[in-house]
């Protein structure tokens, strides 16, 4: 028994956590991520990779439904917890301590496993009598792809339970192979969204967080770590001068990354000529928008009147995303969505002009 217990203790020291963020709770998510890093735990890449599911913020009914289905995909031993928006370090720590204790509790895990087995066998038997749809999954149907070949279409929703994805957003993609042929974006629980007002340093940190997501998607681990480091410093430290130095350093580092530029250049190119109605700060390709994210963070932090941080409304951003991802492969589509820096909670119900004259400028 001692060995089993020791194995479990070791295992829990490497817990992988899937964090699901409800719109508006990104500060709580940052707190969770930092606590996970401090413990040497990991952020999970998918439900199958996760031992624990942490919901931050208060998810609406639609998001709750998705979280529930993701919870069903955790292999087990598993544990879940929820953390409200307004949070401090202690509450995050106690929540994760509880997760660790639950994962270590053998009886609880055995009970959980037993309950699940009954559940899955019911599900399987119900649907298997349909002939052309094994287990209730309809077969894919064909359609012409961009090279004129008829190919199967797969319907894959991206988000909301997906790492490095804007909270509360769903992009329903139609894929052929890995090429997006059609996309439809929406916000879950739209009516429940309440705008969140952030301090300047927090808004700069939000930009860094979005930058970190983009760098994570590009696969550059050290770049992401650098952006996360700046983000955490900005959250902790409202001091403008120190933050500016960090941001400038990050900017220089990004500019030196040749391979990153090579890999992001030319994707999701939005030109003023094609679409004059789109906000100008979205123009350019993913790489230009990435560089602009750092500049925006700097402008937010310093409250620079000359370069006010522009905002586009969420419906505008979603429309741009829908249009840009068509014809791209899944990797490029993800990069485009990340580069648009969509944040439902800080922008949703605010028209662009209202946001600019917020008092903290």
């Amino acid at each position: 028994m001692g060995l089993r217990r020791r194995l479990a203790t070791l295992a829990v020291d490497a817990t992988h956590v899937l964090v699901v963020e409800a719109p508006g709770a990104w500060l709580a998510r940052v707190a969770i991520e930092r606590e996970i890093g401090r413990r040497g735990w990991w952020l999970a890449t998918s439900p199958a990779d996760a031992d624990a599911l942490v919901t931050v913020g208060t998810p609406g009914p639609q998001l709750s439904e998705r979280v529930e289905s993701a919870w069903g995909q955790l292999p087990g031993p598993r544990s879940r917890t929820a953390i409200a928006d307004h949070t401090n370090t202690t509450s995050v720590q106690t929540a994760l301590d509880r997760v660790a204790a639950e994962l270590l509790d053998p009886e609880r895990q055995i009970r959980d496993a037993r309950d699940r087995e009954g559940f899955t066998s019911d599900q399987m038997s119900g649907d298997s009598d349909m002939d052309m749809s094994p287990s209730g999954i309809p077969l894919a149907e064909g359609g012409d792809d961009r090279d004129g070949l008829e190919m199967d279409e797969l319907h894959v929703p991206l988000g909301p339970v997906l790492p490095h994805w804007p909270a509360g957003v769903v992009l329903r993609c139609t894929l052929q192979g890995d090429v997006v042929v059609a996309a439809e974006a929406s916000v879950l629980d739209e009516s429940d969204c309440t705008p969140v007002r952030l301090e300047p340093n927090e808004r700069a940190a939000l930009r860094c967080d979005q930058l970190a997501s983009l760098l994570a998607l590009s696969g550059w681990a050290d770049g992401r770590a650098a952006a996360v480091h700046v983000r955490d410093a900005l959250v902790d430290e409202p001091d403008t001068a120190a933050g500016t130095i960090l941001l400038d350093e990050l900017r220089r580092r990004l500019r030196r990354a040749r391979l990153l530029r090579w890999s992001l250049r030319g994707i999701g190119d939005l030109r003023a000529g094609d679409r004059p109605d789109t906000p100008p700060h979205l123009h350019g390709d993913v790489y230009e928008r990435l560089a602009r994210l750092v500049d925006q963070a700097r402008a937010e932090l310093t409250g620079d009147e000359a370069t006010p941080a522009p905002q586009a409304s969420v419906p505008e951003l979603l429309a741009v995303a829908e249009r840009l991802v068509v014809g791209l492969d899944l990797a490029a589509a993800r990069l485009v969505v990340a580069s648009l820096a969509i944040d439902v909670a800080t922008t949703s119900n605010l028209a662009p002009h209202q946001n600019e004259e917020s008092p903290d400028a």
């Binding site: 999954i137 077969l139 190919m151 014809g327």
Partner: protein, 189 residues
Amino acid sequence: MFVDVVFWVMTVVAVVMGAAVFVVDSMARATYALALSFVAVGVQVLLLHQDYVGVIVILMMVMEMAVMAVYMVMFMGMNPALMPMSMVHDKRKALAAASVVFLTLAAGALLIPWPTRRGQPSSDTTRALGEALMGSKMLVMTVVSPVMVATIVAGIVIASKRSRYDRLGDDLRGAADHSADPQRGGVGR
């Protein structure tokens, strides 16, 4: 002894997997059954002391079947789900023809009084193959090589819709309109 055991195991694998190609319910399984059949034959060619040819058979066929599986999925539209599938015509005639061919060949293999071996294998069969290809059988090499090149070109011409002229313009200097190019490539043309 060891050689015989391996030979018989590989015989069973080659035949069973070969038959499985036309029996199993999934395109992926059919393709990789064929790959396994080829790997088994590749091992047997190794046992017959043609090291280079044997390893090349394994290398080529695994690679080819990996690509073939993608074609299978692409053109046949199968979910990974196992769907019973039977897409055959003239099954009975085909079976009869195959049986007749097998019996004829088998009878030939067993009944013909094969001559005894002439000559001795060289001590390094791979070197011998290389010297043959680069020496007395040079003609084979010089014929096969252009045929291969022609195959590559012909394959691309037949299969692709957009040619390099569509991508890079009539003078091949680079596309006028990059935004219309869904695949811009990595060397910045």
